[in-house]
Amino acid sequence: MLTVDNVVTSYGMIKALKGVNLTAESGKVTCLLGPNGAGKTTLMFTIAGILRAQAGTITFDDTDLTQFSPVKIVEHGISLVPENRLVFPMMTVRENLETGAYLRVGKNRSAIADDVERMFARFPRLEEISTQLAGTLSGGEQQMLAIGRALMARPRILLMDEPSLGLAPLIVKDIFRIIEELNQAGVTIFLVEQNARMALRVAGHFYLLERGRITFSGSPGELEEEEVIHRAYLGSRRE
């Protein structure tokens, strides 16, 4: 279980996260919704160790991650599928997958090869294009690759930052189908999204993040979908 407790993160003078509390339970899909600039990606980067929390703690299965380096966080089984996918454009699909297992490369070659085969079994499309350079893939294929690459680290929790961003509606459906399948296979997922409608369908629990604060926590259905969508895109109206 991932627990974010009262986390504050700033860029210089500007506080992007003003004390965020949330938990992502093992085996579930937990979703964080919110408009642009609410601090969703900041939270992801703080969990991944790229940004440092100024206050608060982040714990994962009783290990305090707050002061860990990004390398140690990956070692502890936390993998990020970054916003905009960020595949390595001039590497082949297979090489991209191998970078995902970077911390194990050189220690056990056959295990990595097995994991690549497992990714190909899960995403047959990736096997068909395994020798293509990742930059030549379509957006949906790149997203699939980014997910596969993160899974290559054998994570205990998968952080996904806006996997639907910039994809055609049909492809978005595919991506969310993949998220459901991964979850059924036992992968814990913490999903950050703007596409509230799709996210609510897969989420077991969801949070709303607005202007650096959690403004709602509950299960889908507890809040009217229209209101969630409104607040996920635009934020609450000021009183």
């Binding site: 970054p82 960020l86 930059g135 030549t136 893939l137």
Partner: protein, 299 residues
Amino acid sequence: MTDFIQNCIDGVMIGSSYALLAIGFTIVFGVLRRLNLAYGPSIMLGAFVGTLLYVQFQAQILAVALVTVIGAVLAGMYVERLCFWAIRRGAALASMVSSFAIWMQLEEIAVIILPERTYPFPALTDLAPLEIGPYFLRSEHLTMFVVAVVLVIVVHAVLYRTRFGLAVRAVSENPDAARFMGINIDAVMFWAFAMVSAIGGIAGFLILATDQQVTPYFGLWATFKGLIAMMLGGMGSLPGAILGGLILGIVETQSLWYLGNDYKDLSAYFLLFLILIIRPGGIFGHAMSEREREALRRV
């Protein structure tokens, strides 16, 4: 025609050492997205320590080679810590300017070690040139060429067959994504720098053993040759660095023969000028394969 071909042979041999210098620049540029102007001077400092050993203690050629390479690597690490590690990402200009300052510093250190202008450097071999039909092949040149080919193969193997190489390529393509994979970017940059300095040290040793003399200006010279060769081929491209080095070598030997010594460097600059006008990104900067260009466009 015989002259022309002879010049081409010499040019390729000399150009192979330029190619090594250009590879050094291009790898650092690829990984750090910054220029290291102190690359030549750090090689020069290594060579000066080697020369000191040779002049003072009549050291063996292999010892001189070893000390030159180790000296270049240590100087390179020093440059990396000061100009690149200490100055964080995003400040490319600050890094370049400080690498220029370190250049001056390294030259001063060299002058303190050995205060005269010119010092002898041990020759690699005293074998007679090889004769192949009407053509001559200097044994130093042949050594230079063979070592360069071996080093290029080694660098390629390191980049495409090892864990470290995977990390170097990942950082070159996208440092942010590399970090998400658990790659320690600082460590990758440091060791890439060390590797590149070792390559530079070897190239510097081979060049100086051919010239049989060394001056503090070797640093300037090596930075110039490496930069020009890299820009000819296209920044950040490994095949570009090799091609750029070879072309530079050939153009220099041809213009030395046909136009005289005064025009040797001028011709090289003119060529660079032409290439940058026709293909602003260098030869391989634009002549990337169709699939690579496609790959970059989509991202």
